[in-house]
């Protein structure tokens, strides 16, 4: 995934209108590009070509359904560890070796390693966390989601 800004002028007003409008939703209809395009003053073929071009320059990370992984039966948990600096790389390797570790970030805090466990079953979360504690000799703090507020993020293009 592209992690650098696009050059100034890479997007025109139509591109920005598409990015702003289609963040919120896309029709579930036989000709969704025609329906979505009509609201933007674009015909079906033009909207498809524009989205393809936006994808090709890295302005879009995904286009399609966003699934709630938990609703599909998985279990997830944010975890954190306070890892001494001289052990950091060794511990990172031990943690990352677990396939259940979906992503892992070093962060600026005494709790300096933050990762997400993604397991098939809720009971597997504790099993993997305990395995990491045994391997590293360090506590793993679990921060399971109690409530998610999933509403508003919009990137103003």
């Amino acid at each position: 995934m592209r992690r650098t800004p696009l050059a100034t002028g890479a997007l025109d007003a139509t591109d920005r209108a598409i990015l702003n409008a289609l963040q919120t939703g896309f029709p579930l209809q036989p000709h969704p590009f025609a329906v979505a395009g009509a609201a933007l003053g674009l015909d079906e073929a033009t909207l498809i070509a524009r989205i393809a071009a936006l994808r090709d320059i890295g302005a879009i990370t995904r286009f399609g359904p966003f699934f709630d992984a938990e609703a599909m039966g998985g279990a997830f948990c944010l975890c954190a560890m306070a890892v001494p600096a001289d052990q950091f790389d060794r511990v990172a390797a031990l943690v990352n070796a677990h396939a259940e570790v979906a992503h892992n970030y070093e962060r600026s805090h005494a709790l300096n390693m933050w990762f997400v466990l993604a397991c098939e079953q809720p009971r597997d979360i504790a099993v993997v966390a305990q395995a990491i504690e045994a391997e590293t000799g360090l506590p793993v703090l679990l921060f399971p989601k109690q409530k998610e507020f999933f509403i508003g993020f919009r990137v103003q293009a």
Binding site: R2, G64, E148
Partner: protein
């Protein structure tokens, strides 16, 4: 809602994205040997049940200049945390917002809000907006910046039956 094997096939086929074709749902149906009507009906049902949060385009926020982000964390009075959390989650610059258990004494924070901005300075300013919103219900706060990505894999549904 419990999803069945056919739903899982549709999820598997579309989690990489919808085809950029005039009739994308018909295209997915052809891949799977289903009818367009069935694909649309199942996607509609999954969206109604929240299995699909939305069908949409996700802009690459780095490409659009939102290169700075921080995990802001807040110690919010439990009696107000749900109400205030919903307000924080609705802010346009907050991408993820969760209530989580505290881990006392090391970790007094129960509200997590990921803030995105064009610069570290902008993120700090937006953090100030959240502090103002929370007001006296907030007893402490911090922000954690990522300094290194140690691992990043997509969350992909494994193919399995039922």
């Amino acid at each position: 809602m419990s999803i069945d094997a056919t739903d899982r096939r549709i999820i598997s086929a579309t989690q990489g994205g919808l085809p950029l074709a005039p009739e994308p749902y018909a295209e997915v149906a052809r891949w799977l040997g289903l009818t367009e009507a069935e694909v649309l009906a199942r996607l509609t049902a999954m969206q109604a049940a929240g299995v699909i949060r939305r069908i949409a385009l996700a802009p690459n926020h780095y490409a659009l200049g939102l290169t700075a982000n921080g995990m802001s964390v807040w110690d919010v009075d439990d009696t107000q945390a749900e109400t205030l959390g919903a307000q924080v989650g609705a802010l346009s610059f907050v991408s993820h917002c969760y209530l989580r258990p505290r881990a006392l004494p090391d970790w007094p924070y129960n509200l997590f809000a990921m803030i995105h901005g064009h610069s570290r300075a902008e993120v700090e300013g937006l953090r100030g907006q959240i502090a103002a919103l929370l007001g006296p219900a907030c007893r402490g706060q911090d922000i954690l910046y990522s300094t290194r990505i140690l691992k990043k894999t997509g969350l992909r549904l494994t193919d399995r039956e039922g």
